[in-house]
């Protein structure tokens, strides 16, 4: 079974075309249904009392005054919730040595970060619950805090979790080749310290959950803004002791997730526990301050790194010492060791070199927990790698593009294994770089830069090659014992009028999953996309799947959809062949009609076939298979991950008197394999770039030495906004994966992976004539002026 993807005029050629998004009309008409829009009979609201201390013993909780507030129904402490809900421990067996203490939905006797829930107030309205929460009197005994990353393991630093022995959550060292010898014999060695700031994902729709427990049926229904409904079904079932078959997670419209909504949050599980105790629907919607203090944070890393190069620019070695602090607990069930682990796996990714050493050290501290956020670890690894490569090029007096061309894996080198032991099936670094050079007119831009420099205008050009991990297999989480599905399924059925319904285990977070699925199913069956209704996000009706994470929706969920659609097509043709008294191989389905495969001549509309199968089955031969519904599941098995690649470029201007960076233009050429919907891919790349630019220039969560979060609002935590964004040019090279018929890899994180490094290199390219360099993100005007040495304190 093959599809002639190369022929745009093939019948039903929807894969590879921009088709309208089926859910766009609903959303722009304000007909979306987010969790907060759902109102159930007898529904109540919960607000949480959150620790104002980064570390404190909870000596007592006095709720009397709160209970007298009009509308307040009940107050819960950690102990109350612990009676119906078991704690969790977020470790994975394949991350050897990773440790984390049991975590409860509401702190039981000790709060470990500012914002950790310490009590819950349930009331008839959110406002009344907040009034009550304000009156809860918690008696705290403040404890010593751990807030500095680099001294977390020092002997004099207090141990955050006594039972853990020390503040080390995880450490992994990877070594390949002979690093010491390589550095000793190197022509040049460049070392740098990098820093990436603590971020959070800032979803437009905050975290939201509404849980209903029906004791008569023993059924728990959670309406949840989540990326992974089946994972949440499993988690709620396990910790609230309900069979999985009786836990239904419904995930309707979701207003962005970026990884933020793929984790288990204590307040959300507490909401479910409260629903079970009170036997009535309970809603929790985080407000913006809660989002900043309790959504997972990410990317808080400090890195010492060095690179060894030969005179001709060839890289001989890289040595990376990465540190990250993950807050007070490893986050369930994906754990908080993955990001550091990714840095080890991804540094040096595009390059063919031999000697590699990387270590990540993951420590506990009294801050909001960190976990996976869009492009997990990639922006860090790419910044380190590309920063080093650029500095090496500068040392050698070599053009940054040239040094990359001399080191990138050749386009015909695949399959190949990297020094970090990542296996690449097929990448296109050189083709992508060539395309980028063309798109941006590199030489022209360099000439313009030189000309303007004479006039005192400081412009910079930055290049960043990258790899992106997509389509994960169970090697990511499953082998470590997490009940996180890497496989995904799709059920496709034909209704009597010939229209098609597809039920998929991947989810729609606003990224266009349903559009992508509709066109795959349309092509797979042979109907137009508007005839396909896609249903996602309901564990009671869709096949079991993993949902949205690690850029897997198109590659895994899309392939399951294609396989099930093709299977349905076969079932339809079996019936059609019987009805038309011909051979099945002589028939095809095109645009909702059974046609003669050779001539394209219509033989019967699907509607007629539906009528016969469903209402006049007596006229068909006895025993003829007549299932107009097919389910297929897909999992990758040849490679642990389908890597993609690409290269980005940034052109910008630095005002050396104010330190302000103006982004002038941005380019990305990427290779996500088969492109299913060009517009959706381009918008994923653009949106991803914007998030990466946010990290490069704006986003930084600040804490003081006591562990108090200092910027918990949209006025103080600066997300990238339209006015500062440059024009973006997106180009593609297509190297489909051979693991699937569809050939699609992921595209969701490439933009975020490469953008910060491109900007960093561009800024440093602009500053280089002045002898200055920045490597600490975000590159604020002040940091740039400090690098230039113009500020005196």
């Amino acid at each position: 079974m093959t599809i002639e993807f190369g022929n745009p005029d093939r019948p039903n050629s929807y894969i590879g075309k921009t088709v309208p998004r089926p859910n766009a009309g609903r959303l722009v008409q304000g007909r979306g249904r987010y969790v907060d829009d759902i109102v159930l009979p007898r529904m109540v609201h919960v607000a949480f009392v959150r620790s104002p201390f980064a570390h404190a013993r909870i000596a007592g909780i006095d709720a009397n005054e709160a209970k007298s507030v009009k509308g307040v129904l009940r107050v819960f402490t950690g102990q109350d919730i612990a009676e119906v809900c078991t704690p969790w421990v977020a470790v994975l067996a394949h991350l050897k040595g990773l440790k984390s203490p049991p975590e409860y939905p509401i702190a039981v006797d000790r709060a470990c970060w500012v914002g950790e829930p310490v009590a819950a107030v349930v009331a008839t309205s959110r406002a009344a619950a907040e009034d009550g929460a304000a009156l809860i009197d918690v008696d705290y005994d403040p404890l010593p805090v751990v807030t500095d990353m680099m001294s977390a393991l020092d002997a004099e630093t207090p141990v955050l979790h006594e039972d853990m022995g020390d503040n080390l959550a995880f450490r992994r060292l990877h070594e390949a080749g002979d690093i010491e010898a390589a550095f000793k014999s190197a022509h040049k060695v460049v070392s740098t310290r990098f820093r990436t700031a603590r971020h959070t994902g800032v979803t437009l729709e905050p975290r939201s959950i509404l849980v209903d427990w029906n004791p008569a049926e023993g059924q728990l229904t959670a309406y949840h803004a989540t990326q992974a409904p089946h994972m949440m079904q499993t988690v709620l079932a396990e910790h609230l002791s309900v069979p999985e078959s009786r836990v239904r997670v419904i995930c309707g419209d979701v207003g962005g997730s970026y990884g933020i909504k793929v984790h288990v949050y204590p307040d959300e599980v507490a909401t479910a526990a409260i629903a079970k105790i009170m036997s009535r629907p309970v809603k929790f919607v985080a407000d913006r301050l809660e989002s900043f203090t309790t959504d997972i944070h990410a990317r808080d890393h400090e890195i010492e790194a060095r690179i060894a190069v030969e005179e001709d620019g060839s890289i001989t070695a890289m040595d990376i010492d990465d540190w990250t602090a993950i807050g007070a607990y490893s986050v369930y069930p994906r754990t908080s060791a993955i990001e550091g682990n990714q840095v080890v796996n991804l540094c040096g990714g595009p390059y063919d070199f031999k000697n590699y050493r990387a270590q990540t050290t993951v420590v506990f501290q009294n801050k909001t927990p960190t976990c996976q956020y869009r492009a997990v670890g990639h922006p860090i690894a790419v910044a380190i790698t590309e920063g080093l490569v650029d500095q090496a090029a500068a040392e050698l007096g070599m053009d940054p593009v040239e040094i990359r061309r001399r080191n990138m894996f050749r386009d015909d080198a695949y399959p190949v294994t990297s020094p970090a032991n990542m296996r690449f099936e097929g990448l296109s670094h050189h083709a992508s770089m060539n395309k980028l050079m063309e798109l941006m007119d590199y030489d022209g831009l360099r000439a313009e830069q030189a000309e303007l420099r004479k006039a005192g205008i400081h412009r910079g050009i930055g290049i960043a090659s990258f790899i992106e991990l997509t389509n994960p297999s169970p090697f990511m989480y499953g082998i470590g014992g997490a009940r996180i599905s890497a496989q995904d399924g799709c059920t496709v059925r034909m209704d009597p009028d010939g229209s098609v319904v597809a039920l998929s285990g991947v989810t729609e977070q606003g990224q266009g999953t349903e559009a992508m699925l509709s066109q795959i199913v349309a092509e797979g069956v042979g109907v137009s996309p508007d005839k396909v209704r896609v249903i996602t996000g309901d564990t009671q009706v869709t096949p079991y799947g993993g949902g949205t994470w690690a850029s897997r929706g198109a590659g895994i969920g899309g392939e399951a959809a294609l396989q099930s659609a093709r299977a349905l097509r076969e079932s339809i043709l079996t019936v059609a062949a019987a009805m038309l008294q011909t051979e099945q191989s002589r028939l095809d389905i095109r645009d909702g009609q059974v046609v003669d495969a050779a001539t394209g001549e219509s033989r019967m509309p699907l509607e007629e076939l539906g009528r016969i199968v469903y209402f006049r089955g007596d006229t068909l031969p006895k025993g003829l298979p007549r299932e107009l519904v097919q389910t297929r599941h897909f999992i990758t098995s040849d490679y642990p991950f389908a890597f993609t690649n690409g290269v980005q470029a940034s052109y910008l201007e630095v005002d050396i008197e104010t330190g302000v960076v103006k982004l002038l233009k941005h380019w990305c050429v990427e290779d996500c394999g088969r492109i299913i919907n060009p517009q959706l891919v381009d918008e994923q790349i653009r949106g991803g770039i914007v998030q990466g630019l946010g990290g490069a220039l704006f986003e930084e969560i600040h804490y003081d030495a006591d562990g108090q979060l200092l910027n918990g609002s949209m006025a103080d935590y600066l997300v990238p906004m339209a006015a500062e964004m440059p024009d973006m040019v997106v180009g593609h090279v297509e190297t489909p994966t051979k693991e699937s018929l569809l050939g699609a890899k992921g595209a969701g994180e490439a933009g975020t992976a490469g953008a910060p490094a491109a900007v960093m290199n561009a800024i440093n390219d602009a500053l280089r004539p002045r002898g200055a360099q920045v490597t600490e993100m975000p590159f604020t005007p002040e940091r740039i002026l400090r690098a230039l040495g113009v500020l005196e304190d």
Binding site: S125, R126, A127, E130, D131, A134, D287, L289, E657, T658, G659, V660, F698, E700, H702, L710, N711, S713, A715, D716, L718, P720, M721, A723, E724, T780, P781, E782, L785, V790, L791, E792, D793
Partner: protein, 277 residues
């Protein structure tokens, strides 16, 4: 968070508003454009207020020419300040400031009186009226009074508006022929409050320099003004360096803000010279 409001009443005219305020037992709070107040209430930074909504008091809005001066009603919205022909002609500093204030939706609602009464040290209008030497008109149940801009701003978010009083408008002197108005600022993103900002007015009588986001209130840089009058730009920059002691926060340190003030001053002067050269 959900706001916790003590009550709400819409005033039909100024007198009604003043009566509502005086009857509120000290809990009354004027609601104008709501662009600062509602945000504060939604964070429960302000709770229990009895809101007195003056947004429909029509005679507090609009701009009129009183001969020597322009009278600008307190309820005149940012977007109107930007577009009003009288202001563009006679007090261009104000209309130019608007491009730096927040975003279109906020400028459509926020009022100049609200911005001045709110007295955010990083806001543009307070520094503008200081540079222009405006007069503020304040009214209570027991009468009106006029306050010079230099006496109006007291501390961070504090002005000389007394309890039960309402700012009804401001008067600004009309620009003389040849007068130059400039506003310069640096913000992290367009629409953000400035990291530091500067207004420069050059009149026959001398220069006026007002800075914002460099201290607890907008500041008239008198030594720098005298230096500029002498034609000593570097002396003026040095005066800023010596006199300013800006605060540090998560966006920028005091040292950075002080440096920026000097850069902005040099740029503003250069732009005036460029324009007249």
């Amino acid at each position: 968070m959900k706001a916790s409001v003590g009550g709400y009443a819409r005033a039909s005219d100024l007198r009604h508003a003043l009566e509502l305020l005086s009857g509120s037992g000290g809990l009354g709070r004027v609601l104008a454009g709501g662009q600062s107040l509602i945000a504060a209430m939604n964070m429960r930074l302000s709770a229990g207020d009895l809101l007195v909504d003056i947004s429909r008091v029509s005679d507090l809005s609009g701009v009129s020419d009183t001969g020597e001066r322009l009278l600008i009603g307190a309820l005149t919205r940012h977007v109107e300040i930007a577009g009003n022909p009288l202001i563009r002609e006679h007090a261009p500093l104000l209309s130019r400031a608007v491009q730096y204030i927040a975003h279109a939706a906020i400028r459509n609602r926020g009022t100049i009186g609200g911005a001045l009464a709110h007295a955010d040290p990083a806001a543009e209008f307070p520094a503008c009226i200081l540079a222009l030497g405006a007069t503020l008109h304040i009214e209570g149940l027991h009468g009106r009074r006029d306050v010079a801009a230099e006496d109006f701003f007291q501390d961070i978010f504090e002005t000389s508006i007394g309890e039960g009083e309402i700012l009804t408008g401001i008067s600004v002197p009309k620009a003389e022929a040849g007068e130059a108005h400039l506003i310069e600022e640096v913000a992290r993103r367009s629409g953000d409050y400035a990291l530091a900002g500067l207004c420069l007015v050059k009149r026959a009588a001398g220069h006026r320099v007002a800075l914002f986001s460099v201290g607890p209130k907008p500041l008239l840089a008198r030594t720098a003004m005298t230096a500029l009058d002498r034609g000593d730009v570097e002396g003026a920059a040095k005066a800023l360096h010596d006199e300013l002691d800006p605060p540090s926060d998560t966006q920028a340190s005091g040292a950075y803000r002080r440096h920026l003030a000097q850069v902005l001053l040099r740029r503003a002067v250069a732009r005036i010279e460029g324009a007249t050269a």
